[in-house]
Amino acid sequence: MTTPLNAVSDSDSLDAELSAVVAHLGEALQRRLGNAIEISNIDVATLGGSNRTVLFDVRGAGQRRRLVLRQETISMAYSPFLPSATQYAVLSAAYRHGMPVPEPIFELEPVDELGQGYVVAAVAGESLPKRLLSGTQFATARARYLKQAGAMLAKLHGIDVAEFAVLETVPDTLDALGAQIGYYDGYGEPHPALEFAFRWLEKSQPPANARVPLHGDFRNGNMLVGEEGIRALLDWECAHIGDPLEDFGWFCTRSWRFGAVDRPAGGFGSRETLYRAYEEAGGRTIDREAARWWEIFGLMRWALYNIMQIVGHVNGTRRSPAFAACGRNTALIEYEMLMTMAGKFD
């Protein structure tokens, strides 16, 4: 039996639900690290579409560490996101192979009464894209970003896919385009522009490339950055196996430039800078033309993710003004997609 935990909140706004989470979390930590530990400095980073992220300090047994709980709060039909257990397996494999990812600490078990999720080490840094693109303190990081991002992708894509066997049955692994059409059909909101995109993509699909482990959400916003450069690659819930160009296409879509539309590679610079960094770090030669197809694919996919959010709102799974806005923002992404197809947007 575990002893009551001394959980100290720095916020008065911790609601009852979060208090219960913190209490269970404390017990989960005591089971693994001993009764003498206590947690403090609790902070809820986000309550995203399907995850709760709780940061906290754990102290005891002569050590103090900042950790992060990633807890699955909502399970939705036709979700493109990996279950927590698969995410943890992927994160662990990436960590074993020296990828800059948060150290996996433990996976939640039924006895923890916290549902699905896991705990990892916290990494300090900034992830907000606009701050990274304009903050004067990040000038050095900006200059290094694409070289580091290219090298990071070369390293990930170079890992044997057998290390990510848990991803072999993921829909996006089996058929990248077919998986998106499957999600779309499940959401049930008809979008003629996306139907057009499916036909366009089917008819112009480049030949299959190598099969490599993909991050799946490799973009500005999913990396923690310090003044010296990128520290950690986060958010592996879209990982799958596929064409290496898919990660490049996603990274360079117009939506992930955060207003810096004349710098296609995440708002940091040119595609060519990113491609060369990848090739110089040992990655395969990039087919520049085929990579553009994956950018259109990425815009279509991002439109679908927004539809997923509005479906959760409309069916009452979780309602919020932000999710409602996602529904109407889908048109903006469709617009970017069509303008890119037409060659009017780069």
Partner: protein, 122 residues
């Protein structure tokens, strides 16, 4: 015009729910204004229920792509058009369809966020 989800009544309902949730945490004066805002949203919701839908230019444009589309509700035209595109019925007219899709999406953007349109289209 048939816009994307949420439908217009749900847009109002979303704001109403948020204000409702926020109200208990507000000070006395702001809580009163929040109540007034809910009252106004409810009026708008009721008035909206009395509205009859009007066909827009975009509805007419999309209806041309569907047999009998002129007599169909805009949402039904969109559903049918999606089915037809998926079945390959318009594969020999993809250039024209692309133009129609651009016009349709621009019409949606004009309502969602007009400043997002290319300057030539505003």
């Amino acid at each position: 015009m048939a816009h994307d989800w949420p439908v217009l009544p749900d847009l109002l309902q979303t704001v109403r729910e948020f204000i409702d949730e926020l109200s208990p945490r507000l000070g006395k004066q702001d809580r009163y204004h929040a109540l007034c805002s809910i009252y106004l949203l409810d009026i708008a919701q009721r008035e909206l229920n009395e509205w009859s839908t009007t066909r827009t230019e975009d509805d007419d444009r999309l209806a041309q792509w569907v047999a009998g589309g002129d007599a169909m509700a805009p949402q039904d035209v969109i559903k049918m058009l999606c089915t037809n595109i998926r079945s390959g019925q318009h594969d020999d007219q993809l250039d024209q369809l692309f133009e129609a899709m651009q016009a349709h999406v621009s019409a949606k953007v004009r309502v969602s966020r007009p400043d997002y349109l290319h300057p030539d289209e505003r």
